[in-house]
C-alpha cells in the first residue's frame, strides 16, 4: 500500500511521543482501541486550568503507519487549542490532512476517540478534584 508523504513523515518523525504524569490533576489520558484489533492509542493532554488551553500533548500508539500518523498529527493539533476547540477536531480533518485511503479511515476515528477520551478524563478529574483520580480513561483493568 502506498502511503502519503505526510503519513511517512509522521511515521518517521513522530511528534510528541511519550508520556505525561497520568496522576497529575491537569493531565487527561485516553486509551482507545484493542490489541486484538491491531491498534491501541494512548493520548494525553495537559491543560492549563487557568486558561483551559492544552499546553502539552503526548501519544503512544500500537498500530499501522496510518494509526501512528493520525495520533502524531492529533497531538500536534491539540497543542495551543482550548479544550472546546480540541473537541471540535473531527476524524475527517485527519483523513484530509493525511490523505488516508478508505481502508485507513478507522485510524482517524480512533484518533478522534482518543482525543475525546483524554479530555473526558481531564474533565472527570476536575469535577472530582480532591478525590483520587482514575489512572486511565477508556480502559480499566478489570481485576
Amino acid at each position: 500500500m502506498a502511503y502519503s508523504n505526510k503519513v511517512i513523515d509522521h511515521y518517521e518523525n513522530p511528534r510528541n511521543v511519550g508520556a505525561l504524569p497520568k496522576d497529575d490533576a491537569n493531565v487527561g489520558t485516553g486509551l482507545v482501541g484493542a490489541p486484538e484489533c491491531g491498534d491501541v492509542m494512548k493520548l494525553q493532554v495537559k491543560v492549563n486550568p487557568e486558561t483551559g488551553v492544552i499546553d502539552d500533548a503526548k501519544f503512544k500508539t500500537f498500530g499501522c503507519g496510518s494509526a501512528i500518523a493520525s495520533s502524531s498529527l492529533a497531538t500536534e493539533w491539540l497543542k495551543g487549542k482550548t479544550v472546546e476547540e480540541a473537541l471540535a477536531i473531527k476524524n475527517t480533518d485527519i483523513v484530509e490532512e493525511l490523505s488516508l485511503p478508505p481502508v485507513k479511515i478507522h485510524c482517524s476515528v480512533l484518533a478522534e476517540d482518543a482525543i475525546k477520551a483524554a479530555i473526558a478524563d481531564y474533565r472527570k478529574k476536575r469535577e472530582s478534584e480532591g478525590a483520587e483520580a482514575p489512572a486511565l480513561a477508556g480502559a480499566q483493568p478489570t481485576a
Binding site: A34, P35, E36, L110, D113
Partner: protein, 404 residues
C-alpha cells in the same frame, strides 16, 4: 549488497537464469503446439514437454505418466479436490482437510459444502500440526478424500504426511497434498509419503509463473478424476487446453535444478535462517516463533514481535520485502487465519513477520535484515502503549479494551 532485499520466497521466487535459458527457444524457434501430431514443430514441442514431465516426476519420485500440467497450484488443488469428489460421489461425500490449508484448498472445500458435501476442518496444535488421532476419528465410511498440505505457506510447518498417508491407505481413502512449498525444498517422495494426488507450482521453485502440475497416482490405486476444464482432451483428458510449452520446459528445468541442489541449498538456507533467528532473539525480548521449529521448512521463519504492529514494522523496513500476518496487510482486514489457528491470540497475529529465504539470500542480507528489524522494533516499542504498560506491570489480558 543490493537494496531492496527480497526475503519473501514463499510468495514467489525469481526464475533461475538457467531456467530462463532453457525456456527461451520455446517462445520463438520451437513455438509449436505440443498437440500437433503431424509435423516437426509439434513433435519438437511434445518432446520438450515429455522431458519436462520426466523432470517434474523425478523430483517427487513419480512416473512421468502421473504428471498432469496445469496453470498453477490453485488449479491443481481445484482439480484434485473437485475432481476426486465428483468422481467418487457414489462412494461418499465427505472430505477432511485442515484449518491452516491454503485458500485454494479451503475455498474449494467451502464450494463443495455448498453443493452438499460434508467437510471436516481439522484443527492444529500450537505447533501448527494436525493430530493423527483426530484425523483417524474424523474418517467415516463416507470419506472420499483427505487433503493435508505438506508444508504451510505462512509458518513453514511440515505436516506428518507419511503418517497421514499410511492412515489413508489403511482406511482406503485418497490423500491429496498441496506440496507447493515443500517440493524442491525438502525431500518429498510420493511412494514414501503414500500420497495419491500432489499439487505443485513452478514459480515457488525458481520456475515461471502460470504453470503447475498435479500428480495423479496410476497404480495402487489408480486414481480417476472428473475433468474440470473441458476441451481437446489434453493431459489424459484430465485437463484440456493447449500446453504452455515454454512454461512447462521452465518448470522441468527448475525441478531438475532443485533436485540436484536441494541438499546443499537447504543446508545453506537452514544456516542462514538459524542465524537470523539467533540474532533477533539475542537482540530482542518478547519475540515468539509461530509454529514448530523442529518440523519446519529450512528456509522459513515466522516471528511475532509482541507490542508492535506488523504493518508499521514493514513500513520501517521498507527496503526489505517480507510479509506480515497483520490485518492491515491483508485484503480482508482480518489477521492471518493460520496464526489465529495456532491459538496464540489475534494480537500476536497482528505482530507477525514471515521471512522466506531463498536461492539468492546472502549472509550479508541476513545480518542487515536482523539489525534493521531490531532497531525498528525497538523504536516502535518505545512508542507502543502496550510495551509501556507491560513494563509498568499491567497484565494486558486483564484489561477491558474499548473496541471499535
Amino acid at each position: 549488497m543490493k537494496l531492496p532485499i527480497y526475503m519473501d520466497y514463499h510468495a514467489t521466487t525469481p526464475v533461475d537464469p538457467r531456467v530462463v535459458e532453457a525456456m527461451l527457444p520455446y517462445f520463438t524457434d520451437k513455438f509449436g503446439n505440443a498437440a500437433s501430431r503431424n509435423h516437426e514443430f509439434g513433435w519438437v514441442a511434445e518432446e520438450a514437454v515429455e522431458t519436462a514431465r520426466k523432470q517434474v516426476a523425478e523430483l517427487i519420485g513419480a512416473s512421468p505418466k502421473e504428471i498432469i500440467f496445469t496453470s498453477g497450484a490453485t488449479e491443481s488443488n481445484n482439480l484434485a479436490i473437485k475432481g476426486a469428489v465428483e468422481m467418487y460421489r457414489e462412494k461418499g461425500n465427505h472430505v477432511i482437510t485442515c484449518v491452516t490449508e491454503h485458500k485454494a484448498v479451503i475455498d474449494t472445500c467451502k464450494r463443495l459444502e455448498k453443493q452438499g458435501c460434508r467437510v471436516t476442518y481439522l484443527p492444529v496444535a500450537k505447533d501448527g500440526r494436525i493430530d493423527l488421532d483426530e484425523l483417524r476419528d474424523a474418517i467415516t465410511d463416507k470419506t472420499v478424500l483427505i487433503s493435508i498440505m505438506a508444508a504451510n505457506n505462512e509458518i513453514g510447518v511440515l505436516q506428518p504426511i507419511a503418517e497421514v498417508g499410511a492412515l489413508a491407505k489403511e482406511k482406503g481413502v485418497l490423500l491429496h497434498t498441496d506440496a507447493v512449498q515443500a517440493a524442491g525444498k525438502v525431500p518429498f517422495n510420493v511412494a514414501e509419503q503414500k500420497v495419491d494426488l500432489v499439487s505443485l507450482s513452478a514459480h515457488k521453485m525458481y520456475g515461471p509463473k502460470g504453470v503447475g502440475a498435479l500428480y495423479v497416482r496410476r497404480r495402487n490405486p489408480r486414481v480417476l478424476l472428473s475433468e474440470q476444464v473441458n476441451g481437446g482432451g489434453h493431459e489424459r483428458g484430465m485437463r484440456s487446453g493447449t500446453l504452455n510449452v515454454p512454461g512447462i520446459v521452465g518448470f522441468g528445468a527448475a525441478a531438475a535444478l532443485c533436485r540436484a541442489e536441494m541438499a546443499t541449498e537447504s543446508e545453506r538456507l537452514r544456516g542462514l535462517r538459524d542465524r537470523l533467528n539467533e540474532v533477533l532473539h539475542r537482540n530482542l525480548d518478547e519475540i515468539f516463533i509461530n509454529g514448530s521449529m523442529e518440523h519446519r521448512l529450512p528456509h522459513n521463519l515466522n516471528i511475532s514481535f509482541a507490542y508492535v504492529e506488523g504493518e508499521s514494522l514493514l513500513m520501517g523496513i521498507n527496503d526489505v520485502a517480507v510479509s506480515s500476518g497483520s490485518a492491515c496487510t491483508s485484503a480482508s482486514l482480518e489477521p492471518s487465519y493460520v496464526l489465529k489457528a495456532l491459538g496464540a491470540g489475534d494480537d500476536l497475529a497482528h505482530s507477525s513477520i514471515r521471512f522466506g529465504l531463498g536461492r539468492w539470500t546472502t549472509e550479508a542480507e541476513v545480518e542487515y535484515v536482523a539489525e534493521k528489524l531490531t532497531s525498528v522494533v525497538r523504536r516502535l516499542r518505545e512508542m507502543s502503549p502496550l510495551y509501556e504498560m507491560v513494563k509498568e506491570g499491567v497484565d494486558l489480558s486483564k484489561m477491558q479494551w474499548v473496541t471499535h
